[in-house]
């Protein structure tokens, strides 16, 4: 459940940054500038955070597994979207959930 809580906070942070990027344009984190923020992307990240949170609250692993699947798929999609449009979103950071998802599915 600790993992679910950590991922909840991580995706909440990404959601907040995505909203800021959507509202105020470019956000620079060191060498990284995110310019493709959108409210709908923030909605997806928020949904992922909410799924992890529910998993932590009801103490069920299934929520973290599905949330990680969504986060991984969204991350792959955002990377492809970046290659196609040169516009980047905080969704790309969802790949952090991929090892957890693979571990769960293997199990």
């Amino acid at each position: 459940m600790v993992v679910a809580l950590i991922f909840t906070l991580y995706f909440l942070l990404l959601t907040a940054l995505e909203i800021l990027s959507a509202l105020y344009g470019d956000i620079t984190l060191g060498w990284w500038t995110v310019d493709g923020g959108s409210v709908i992307n923030a909605f997806v990240l928020g949904t992922i955070a909410a799924t992890y949170l529910k998993g932590a609250v009801v103490k069920r692993d299934s929520y973290s597994t599905v949330a990680s699947l969504l986060a991984t798929a969204f991350s792959v999609l955002m990377i492809l979207a970046y290659l196609a449009s040169q516009s980047i979103s905080f969704g790309v950071f969802g790949f952090a959930a991929a090892p957890y998802f693979l571990k769960k599915v293997k199990k």
Binding site: T47, D61, S62, Y63, L77, A81, A84, S85
Partner: protein, 563 residues
Amino acid sequence: MVGNPNVGKTSLLNALTGGNFTVANFPGVTVEKKEGKGVIGGKVVTFVDLPGIYGFETENLDEKVARDYIIREKPDLILNVVNALNLERNLYLTLQLTEFGVPMIIALNMIDEAEKEGIRIDEERLSEILGLPVVKTSAVRGEGIEELKKEILKGGKVPKVFRGSLEEKIELAGRIAREVAKSEKVGVSEIDEAFDEVFMDKHLGIPIFLSIMWMMFVFTYTIAEPFNSLLGKIFDTLASYISGLDGWLFSMLGDGVVAGVGSVLSFIPNIAFLFLALSILELSGYMPRAVYLVDGLMARFGLNGRSIIPLIMGFGCNVPAVLATRSIEDERVRIATVIINPFMSCSARLPIYVLFAGIFFPKTGSAVIMALYLIGVLIALISALALRKTLLKGESEFIMELPPYMLPSLRELWLMTWVRTKHFIQKAGTVILAMSVVVWYITNYPGGSIESSYAAMLGKVLQPLFSPMGWSWELVLALITGFVAKEVVVATIGVLNVDIASVMSPHQAFAFMLFTLLYMPCVATIAAIRAEIGTKWAIFGVLFSFAVAYMVSMIATEVGVWL
């Protein structure tokens, strides 16, 4: 090939024909017909995949099509595809099929999945009871296909006939299933249970569904965009090169045929990506869950859960959205979903809103544009309700089945995507070719420029029709050219050098935006509608949307004057 829905008939068709099959409609109806040829032992065998059905006792269109086909076309053999995971329910259809007196073979498909679930089936005993050859197959993995081909060559056997009432057949199917199938493990797999718990969660189910829809949207439009642009550029270059040559023939070929057909062909990446995404959702088993989630809401408007995906896709482009209605099994619901789809504001209409909102509503532009999208959704749902209460009246028969989750195979994804995309190219391409030539002619003749063309004359002639809204003939002409593609409305206003701020007031501009949102679909969408539900409904769709657009924009103008 006859079987329940979701038993893997299409996968088996793929395996037996090596993907050599075409998708069309059964004559006179919108039920999808897949037909393919496979060479077995040097003989060419034609396979026809009939729609998935559960039995023959209702008036359901799919059942009627399947029954009529077996009676009228008299196939040499019925290949009854049975889902090994749910033998009892599938055998009920098998018992009904025995009454046709046609030789049969049973393909016990998804046997690998059944074995994973601990289900063991004694196929020899089943064959003995039914008096039919039974072959265990896994179409996705290519298992049992060679044995099945051998049985097909032998021609199957005329089965024992099992007559009796509905209840008797159900009871008999249950008895046979209990005798031949043994389950060593009870319940669904852990991963299925885990996925269902979350995907069907009462709080998170809908947000997750919307997130997945957004991902599909990004995949279909953003990621396909470079391919679209590339194709667009190729066709543009080709069109300008050809039209640059001397003579009307080159002008027609360049500006008419290549530009027009190219405008449709440049949608192919979108369409292929959409079909790929839809195939992933269908084959993975997620789609039925999504449909279940939104079914209650959609049912209030006479639609069903399957309508939601085409409606959401319509925000990107109505062409693939119309094609996405194929997953709707109920014909009336499908027609209603196709007809209302152009009310979902596609991305091509955005430049029009941006132009007008920027000039007339500089401070509240975003809210105005958002309002237009919402009005489109509202009108679509009201229209669906109206259509389902009148022209498309009738109960929607909708049986929901939740198949197990599966990882789709790449070969199957490719085949499903390619076959559907090819169908679009063949169908839409032919109509577009003719329409492109017509549009080229009326925008170039007799004067040689758009201002002195038949289209301009038409604009002037039709202008009085739009006098209640107070639009000039130039704006009417822009609407006419917008018939080709909605983006062209803005281009025409540019070509004619219209100072829109001086020729209309804000409420007239809002009414104009409403009109462009609702009036007839573009040529490519009409071609897709015609290909999917026929010419009669395509004409109805054009007239219906025009009438709705006219009424709504007139009301908006009147309310604007009154305010």
